[in-house]
Amino acid sequence: MLARRFGAQWVLRGVSLELRSGVAAGLVGANGSGKSTLLRLLCTLLRPTAGTASVFGADIASEPDRVRELVGFFSPVPGVYEDLTAMENIRFAATMLGRPAGSAASALERTGLASVANERVRGFSSGMLRRLSLARLLVHRPRLLLLDEPYNNFDAPGTALLNDVIRETLAFGGSALIVVHDVASAMPVVNEWFSLTGGKMSPSAAIPVGSPSPSIIPALGMSGVLH
């Protein structure tokens, strides 16, 4: 049961969810329903006002560093340094994540950016910027993927690559939580659907797709008492 307010306004009012490993969950909801807030809470970018959540056993409030190691965030915002080259951007990420420097090159290779590795990011198209974010994710290899409208304006090859990354993460026992507006775009990977309205979560009867989750290890559990 997570709750979060901004000043006087309660954005999340008792969200309860359990996500098992190997499962990709899709999250829908109207604009302003708190989906981004929920993702930000799970990334430790925000602290919950009440309640608790844990990611693969690490509590988001008391062990944020362990959570950051396990969680990766992806959204249309590129989050890059425009005056650095692609390689410099990813090498920086690798250093900050404590990953070997060589992983940057292979990540750029995989996302098809090897040819522009030494060019400044300032000139990149939005598709290339998205791939750069994806390269950062590849260097990180998080166990929990949090994706905020990842398919928006993303071309078909990029989308295919993203879905591959998601599937690989699930296959290795990880999980994913994907926020989308357009349900169809995430159908290829999502196993379970939820919807968030008025700050509360409920399973969405909409579309059960894919095989049932193979593991019983709780990957992501949120519990706690409100008030």
Binding site: R47, D65, R68, G79, V80, D83, L84, E88, M96, V121
Partner: protein
């Protein structure tokens, strides 16, 4: 070893800030030019009498460095705010203070280069000769710079993300810097004329105390400021 990891992260942040700064079109050259312009304006305000100008030179020098340097502090966060890179930065595991340390380092290098230029131009414009006490003078410059950069980098973490940042940063920062500026100006003035009264020692001690107090408190407080 955890400390080594933190150092690697801080170093990566500093390198990244300096690289981005060097490659951006605006940047150091403009700030340095501004510093020189301010010196010239002080010359007009205080001169043309050579004695008057020479007496006022230490003050003018530090104020020029301050006014130009203030631009550097907001810019050091701009590099993250422009590309939306602040959130990814905050999501990397590891202590936040490594980020602060990295930005401190980058700003220290930047302001040091600025001071070199401002001092060189001051020597010429204000008819100052390099005194025999120049090693102590260098120490005073470095200590003053540490105080300036520490609080500047710290307050910019807040100001750069608020409205009216151009006025908010100086408004918050300048009153806090009064002890540093007083001490640096007085010590500089004393050392430039050979420090006959041995004043510089007391001011240098004040600089050291100030630097220590605020380095510690800003490092402790940075977590609170950057997470919000």
């Amino acid at each position: 070893m955890a400390f080594r990891d933190e150092w690697l992260r801080a170093r990566a942040v500093a390198w990244k800030d300096l690289m981005a700064e060097r490659r951006s079109k605006a940047g150091f050259n403009s700030v340095a030019a501004l510093g020189v312009t301010i010196l010239v304006l002080f010359g007009f305000a205080l001169g043309p009498d050579a004695e008057a100008i020479r007496a006022a030179a230490p003050g003018a020098l530090w104020l020029a460095a301050l006014f130009a340097g203030v631009l550097a502090f907001n810019r050091s966060y701009q590099v993250e705010l422009d590309g939306g890179a602040l959130e990814p930065l905050l999501m990397y595991p590891g202590a936040r203070r490594s980020i602060f340390a990295g930005k401190l380092l980058a700003n220290f290098v930047f302001v040091f280069l600025l001071l070199v230029i401002v001092i060189a131009v001051s020597l010429v414009l204000f008819h100052i000769t390099v005194p025999s006490t120049w090693p102590r003078l260098l120490l005073v410059v470095l200590l003053g710079e540490v105080g300036l950069v520490t609080l500047g980098t710290f307050y910019a973490a807040m100001a750069s993300r608020s409205r009216a940042r151009e006025v908010l940063l100086p408004l918050l920062l300048f009153p806090m810097l009064v002890p540093v500026l007083l001490a640096a100006m007085q010590a500089t003035k004393a050392l430039l004329v050979g420090d006959v009264m041995h004043d510089a020692g007391a001011w240098t001690n004040l600089l050291v105390a100030y630097d220590v107090i605020f380095l510690i408190s800003t490092f402790l407080a940075f977590d609170y400021v950057i997470e919000a």
